[in-house]
Protein backbone atom coordinates (compact mmCIF):
# COMPACT_ATOMS: atom_id res chain seq x y z
CA UNK A 1 0.00 0.00 0.00
CA UNK A 2 2.79 2.36 0.93
CA UNK A 3 4.61 1.14 -2.15
CA UNK A 4 1.61 1.75 -4.40
CA UNK A 5 1.40 5.27 -3.08
CA UNK A 6 5.10 5.86 -3.63
CA UNK A 7 4.82 4.67 -7.22
CA UNK A 8 1.99 7.10 -7.79
CA UNK A 9 4.06 9.93 -6.42
CA UNK A 10 6.86 9.03 -8.81
CA UNK A 11 4.44 8.95 -11.75
CA UNK A 12 3.08 12.35 -10.86
CA UNK A 13 6.59 13.75 -10.46
CA UNK A 14 7.54 12.37 -13.87
CA UNK A 15 4.50 13.92 -15.48
CA UNK A 16 5.28 17.22 -13.80
CA UNK A 17 8.74 17.04 -15.34
CA UNK A 18 7.31 16.21 -18.73
CA UNK A 19 5.06 19.25 -18.50
CA UNK A 20 7.99 21.44 -17.53
CA UNK A 21 10.07 20.14 -20.41
CA UNK A 22 7.28 20.93 -22.84
CA UNK A 23 6.44 24.25 -21.31
CA UNK A 24 3.03 23.16 -20.11
CA UNK A 25 1.54 24.17 -16.81
CA UNK A 26 1.12 21.26 -14.47
CA UNK A 27 -2.38 20.98 -13.06
CA UNK A 28 -4.23 18.33 -11.15
CA UNK A 29 -6.83 17.99 -13.91
CA UNK A 30 -4.18 17.64 -16.57
CA UNK A 31 -2.40 15.00 -14.58
CA UNK A 32 -5.52 12.92 -14.08
CA UNK A 33 -6.67 13.27 -17.69
CA UNK A 34 -3.23 12.17 -18.81
CA UNK A 35 -3.11 9.17 -16.51
CA UNK A 36 -6.61 8.07 -17.49
CA UNK A 37 -6.10 8.58 -21.23
CA UNK A 38 -2.83 6.68 -21.27
CA UNK A 39 -4.37 3.83 -19.32
CA UNK A 40 -7.18 3.29 -21.82
CA UNK A 41 -6.17 0.91 -24.57
CA UNK A 42 -9.58 0.83 -26.22
CA UNK A 43 -9.04 4.05 -28.20
CA UNK A 44 -11.49 6.14 -26.21
CA UNK A 45 -13.45 9.18 -27.25
CA UNK A 46 -13.04 12.43 -25.28
CA UNK A 47 -16.44 11.68 -23.76
CA UNK A 48 -15.22 8.29 -22.52
CA UNK A 49 -12.16 9.87 -20.94
CA UNK A 50 -14.42 12.48 -19.35
CA UNK A 51 -16.62 9.79 -17.81
CA UNK A 52 -13.65 8.14 -16.18
CA UNK A 53 -11.95 11.32 -15.02
CA UNK A 54 -15.26 12.43 -13.52
CA UNK A 55 -15.11 9.57 -11.05
CA UNK A 56 -12.02 11.21 -9.57
CA UNK A 57 -12.84 14.85 -10.20
CA UNK A 58 -16.63 15.14 -10.25
CA UNK A 59 -16.49 18.87 -10.94
CA UNK A 60 -14.40 18.59 -14.11
CA UNK A 61 -15.95 19.88 -17.30
CA UNK A 62 -16.04 18.21 -20.69
CA UNK A 63 -14.48 21.32 -22.23
CA UNK A 64 -11.43 20.88 -20.03
CA UNK A 65 -11.05 17.32 -21.25
CA UNK A 66 -11.29 18.48 -24.87
CA UNK A 67 -8.75 21.24 -24.32
CA UNK A 68 -6.28 18.90 -22.68
CA UNK A 69 -6.76 16.19 -25.24
CA UNK A 70 -5.90 18.75 -27.88
CA UNK A 71 -2.88 19.85 -25.87
CA UNK A 72 -1.69 16.25 -25.64
CA UNK A 73 -2.23 15.75 -29.36
CA UNK A 74 -0.15 18.84 -30.12
CA UNK A 75 2.54 17.61 -27.76
CA UNK A 76 2.58 14.18 -29.40
CA UNK A 77 1.60 12.47 -26.16
CA UNK A 78 -1.60 11.18 -27.75
CA UNK A 79 -2.53 10.47 -31.34
CA UNK A 80 -5.78 10.48 -33.23
CA UNK A 81 -6.61 7.07 -34.64
CA UNK A 82 -7.81 8.79 -37.78
CA UNK A 83 -6.11 11.94 -38.94
CA UNK A 84 -9.17 13.12 -40.84
CA UNK A 85 -11.96 12.96 -38.30
CA UNK A 86 -14.59 15.66 -37.94
CA UNK A 87 -16.70 14.96 -40.96
CA UNK A 88 -17.57 11.82 -42.87
CA UNK A 89 -15.30 11.31 -45.89
CA UNK A 90 -16.73 9.30 -48.76
CA UNK A 91 -14.85 7.09 -51.14
CA UNK A 92 -16.43 6.10 -54.45
CA UNK A 93 -13.65 3.64 -55.12
CA UNK A 94 -14.95 0.35 -53.74
CA UNK A 95 -12.07 -1.70 -55.07
CA UNK A 96 -9.10 -2.51 -52.87
CA UNK A 97 -6.71 0.41 -52.68
CA UNK A 98 -4.69 2.47 -50.25
CA UNK A 99 -4.60 6.07 -49.07
CA UNK A 100 -2.14 8.87 -48.80
CA UNK A 101 -3.32 11.32 -46.13
CA UNK A 102 -1.98 14.77 -45.41
CA UNK A 103 -1.92 15.28 -41.66
CA UNK A 104 -2.12 19.03 -42.09
CA UNK A 105 -4.76 19.76 -44.76
CA UNK A 106 -6.47 16.36 -44.54
CA UNK A 107 -6.29 15.82 -48.26
CA UNK A 108 -6.72 12.15 -49.12
CA UNK A 109 -5.32 10.69 -52.30
CA UNK A 110 -5.87 7.17 -53.58
CA UNK A 111 -2.97 4.83 -54.08
CA UNK A 112 -3.58 1.87 -56.39
CA UNK A 113 -3.52 -1.47 -54.64
CA UNK A 114 -0.37 -2.53 -56.46
CA UNK A 115 1.51 0.56 -55.28
CA UNK A 116 2.09 -1.29 -52.03
CA UNK A 117 3.45 -4.79 -51.67
CA UNK A 118 0.71 -7.12 -50.46
CA UNK A 119 -0.05 -6.80 -46.77
CA UNK A 120 0.94 -9.98 -45.00
CA UNK A 121 -0.03 -10.86 -41.48
CA UNK A 122 2.50 -12.68 -39.36
CA UNK A 123 1.13 -15.16 -36.88
CA UNK A 124 -2.57 -15.10 -36.14
CA UNK A 125 -5.14 -12.42 -35.58
CA UNK A 126 -7.34 -12.46 -32.48
CA UNK A 127 -9.47 -15.58 -32.56
CA UNK A 128 -12.78 -15.16 -34.36
CA UNK A 129 -11.97 -11.93 -36.17
CA UNK A 130 -13.40 -12.06 -39.68
CA UNK A 131 -11.36 -9.95 -42.10
CA UNK A 132 -13.29 -7.96 -44.68
CA UNK A 133 -10.44 -5.95 -46.13
CA UNK A 134 -7.26 -4.21 -45.22
CA UNK A 135 -5.77 -0.96 -46.31
CA UNK A 136 -2.57 0.92 -45.82
CA UNK A 137 -2.69 4.52 -44.77
CA UNK A 138 0.40 6.56 -45.43
CA UNK A 139 0.28 9.67 -43.29
CA UNK A 140 2.49 12.64 -43.93
CA UNK A 141 2.61 16.08 -45.49
CA UNK A 142 1.47 16.66 -49.04
CA UNK A 143 3.78 18.66 -51.30
CA UNK A 144 1.90 21.88 -50.68
CA UNK A 145 1.87 21.56 -46.88
CA UNK A 146 5.46 20.34 -46.75
CA UNK A 147 6.55 23.67 -48.23
CA UNK A 148 4.73 25.62 -45.51
Amino acid sequence: MAIRKAEELVRVAQFRDECRRRGLTFTHQRQVIHRVAVSMTEHPTPEAIYERVRREIPSISLATVYKNVKTFLDAGILREVSVHHGSLRLDPNTAAHHHLVCSRCKTIVDLPEDAIEPVRVRGTLPLGFHVERHAVEIVGLCAKCARA
Copy 2:
Protein backbone atom coordinates in the same frame (compact mmCIF):
# COMPACT_ATOMS: atom_id res chain seq x y z
CA MET B 1 -22.79 16.99 -78.40
CA ALA B 2 -25.50 14.53 -79.40
CA ILE B 3 -23.11 11.77 -78.41
CA ARG B 4 -22.48 13.32 -75.01
CA LYS B 5 -26.21 13.44 -74.44
CA ALA B 6 -26.68 9.82 -75.51
CA GLU B 7 -23.95 8.74 -73.12
CA GLU B 8 -25.70 10.52 -70.32
CA LEU B 9 -28.95 8.77 -71.15
CA VAL B 10 -27.18 5.43 -71.02
CA ARG B 11 -25.63 6.29 -67.69
CA VAL B 12 -28.98 7.24 -66.25
CA ALA B 13 -30.57 4.07 -67.59
CA GLN B 14 -27.82 2.00 -66.02
CA PHE B 15 -28.30 3.69 -62.68
CA ARG B 16 -32.03 3.13 -62.92
CA ASP B 17 -31.32 -0.56 -63.44
CA GLU B 18 -28.94 -0.64 -60.52
CA CYS B 19 -31.62 0.89 -58.33
CA ARG B 20 -34.15 -1.66 -59.53
CA ARG B 21 -31.77 -4.53 -58.84
CA ARG B 22 -31.17 -3.28 -55.31
CA GLY B 23 -34.80 -2.48 -54.63
CA LEU B 24 -34.21 1.26 -54.45
CA THR B 25 -36.59 3.81 -55.86
CA PHE B 26 -35.08 5.75 -58.72
CA THR B 27 -35.33 9.49 -58.24
CA HIS B 28 -33.82 12.46 -59.94
CA GLN B 29 -32.11 13.58 -56.73
CA ARG B 30 -30.66 10.15 -56.10
CA GLN B 31 -29.34 9.94 -59.62
CA VAL B 32 -27.60 13.31 -59.44
CA ILE B 33 -26.17 12.64 -55.97
CA HIS B 34 -24.83 9.35 -57.24
CA ARG B 35 -23.27 10.81 -60.35
CA VAL B 36 -21.67 13.66 -58.42
CA ALA B 37 -20.40 11.47 -55.56
CA VAL B 38 -18.86 8.94 -57.91
CA SER B 39 -17.19 11.68 -59.91
CA MET B 40 -15.43 13.15 -56.90
CA THR B 41 -12.08 11.50 -56.31
CA GLU B 42 -11.08 13.81 -53.46
CA HIS B 43 -13.02 11.87 -50.81
CA PRO B 44 -15.66 14.50 -50.26
CA THR B 45 -17.74 15.19 -47.19
CA PRO B 46 -21.56 15.07 -47.49
CA GLU B 47 -21.45 18.87 -47.38
CA ALA B 48 -19.10 18.98 -50.37
CA ILE B 49 -21.38 16.69 -52.34
CA TYR B 50 -24.33 18.87 -51.36
CA GLU B 51 -22.58 21.99 -52.66
CA ARG B 52 -22.02 20.39 -56.05
CA VAL B 53 -25.45 18.82 -56.34
CA ARG B 54 -26.98 22.18 -55.46
CA ARG B 55 -25.62 23.66 -58.66
CA GLU B 56 -27.92 21.29 -60.55
CA ILE B 57 -30.79 21.07 -58.08
CA PRO B 58 -30.85 24.30 -56.11
CA SER B 59 -33.82 23.17 -54.03
CA ILE B 60 -32.17 20.00 -52.73
CA SER B 61 -31.72 19.71 -48.99
CA LEU B 62 -28.66 18.62 -47.08
CA ALA B 63 -30.77 16.01 -45.29
CA THR B 64 -31.55 14.36 -48.60
CA VAL B 65 -27.86 14.18 -49.40
CA TYR B 66 -27.16 12.59 -46.02
CA LYS B 67 -29.97 10.08 -46.46
CA ASN B 68 -28.80 9.07 -49.90
CA VAL B 69 -25.18 8.88 -48.89
CA LYS B 70 -26.24 6.48 -46.17
CA THR B 71 -28.30 4.51 -48.66
CA PHE B 72 -25.28 4.23 -50.96
CA LEU B 73 -23.07 3.17 -48.07
CA ASP B 74 -25.54 0.43 -47.15
CA ALA B 75 -25.67 -0.65 -50.76
CA GLY B 76 -21.89 -0.79 -51.02
CA ILE B 77 -21.85 1.85 -53.76
CA LEU B 78 -19.83 4.19 -51.58
CA ARG B 79 -17.48 3.56 -48.70
CA GLU B 80 -16.43 5.59 -45.70
CA VAL B 81 -12.73 6.34 -45.70
CA SER B 82 -12.72 5.71 -41.98
CA VAL B 83 -15.03 3.12 -40.50
CA HIS B 84 -15.04 4.76 -37.09
CA HIS B 85 -15.97 8.37 -37.77
CA GLY B 86 -18.39 10.33 -35.60
CA SER B 87 -16.25 10.99 -32.62
CA LEU B 88 -12.55 11.51 -32.13
CA ARG B 89 -10.77 8.32 -31.10
CA LEU B 90 -7.57 8.71 -29.12
CA ASP B 91 -4.58 6.44 -29.15
CA PRO B 92 -2.09 6.59 -26.30
CA ASN B 93 0.27 4.30 -28.17
CA THR B 94 2.57 6.65 -30.07
CA ALA B 95 4.89 3.91 -31.27
CA ALA B 96 4.43 2.41 -34.73
CA HIS B 97 1.65 -0.16 -34.73
CA HIS B 98 -1.41 -1.26 -36.65
CA HIS B 99 -5.13 -1.50 -36.03
CA LEU B 100 -7.85 -4.07 -36.19
CA VAL B 101 -11.20 -2.34 -36.59
CA CYS B 102 -14.65 -3.86 -36.28
CA SER B 103 -16.88 -2.38 -38.95
CA ARG B 104 -19.97 -3.09 -36.87
CA CYS B 105 -19.23 -2.07 -33.28
CA LYS B 106 -16.25 0.17 -34.13
CA THR B 107 -14.01 -1.50 -31.59
CA ILE B 108 -10.37 -0.80 -32.34
CA VAL B 109 -7.62 -3.15 -31.20
CA ASP B 110 -3.91 -2.54 -31.52
CA LEU B 111 -1.72 -4.90 -33.49
CA PRO B 112 1.99 -4.80 -32.71
CA GLU B 113 4.09 -3.47 -35.54
CA ASP B 114 5.72 -6.84 -36.09
CA ALA B 115 2.34 -8.55 -36.55
CA ILE B 116 2.43 -7.29 -40.13
CA GLU B 117 5.28 -7.70 -42.57
CA PRO B 118 6.90 -4.32 -43.22
CA VAL B 119 4.90 -2.10 -45.55
CA ARG B 120 6.82 -1.59 -48.76
CA VAL B 121 5.97 0.96 -51.38
CA ARG B 122 6.47 0.01 -55.01
CA GLY B 123 7.52 2.74 -57.35
CA THR B 124 7.28 6.31 -56.12
CA LEU B 125 4.79 8.33 -54.16
CA PRO B 126 3.46 11.62 -55.52
CA LEU B 127 6.34 14.06 -55.81
CA GLY B 128 6.98 16.10 -52.68
CA PHE B 129 4.95 13.98 -50.28
CA HIS B 130 6.77 13.74 -46.98
CA VAL B 131 5.98 10.49 -45.16
CA GLU B 132 5.55 10.70 -41.41
CA ARG B 133 4.34 7.18 -40.79
CA HIS B 134 2.21 4.45 -42.22
CA ALA B 135 -0.20 2.07 -40.66
CA VAL B 136 -2.22 -0.91 -41.75
CA GLU B 137 -5.89 -1.01 -40.91
CA ILE B 138 -7.51 -4.42 -40.97
CA VAL B 139 -11.26 -3.96 -41.20
CA GLY B 140 -13.68 -6.75 -40.45
CA LEU B 141 -15.97 -8.18 -37.82
CA CYS B 142 -14.75 -8.83 -34.31
CA ALA B 143 -15.54 -12.22 -32.80
CA LYS B 144 -18.58 -10.92 -30.97
CA CYS B 145 -20.09 -9.16 -34.01
CA ALA B 146 -19.26 -12.05 -36.33
CA ARG B 147 -21.53 -14.27 -34.27
CA ALA B 148 -24.45 -11.84 -34.62
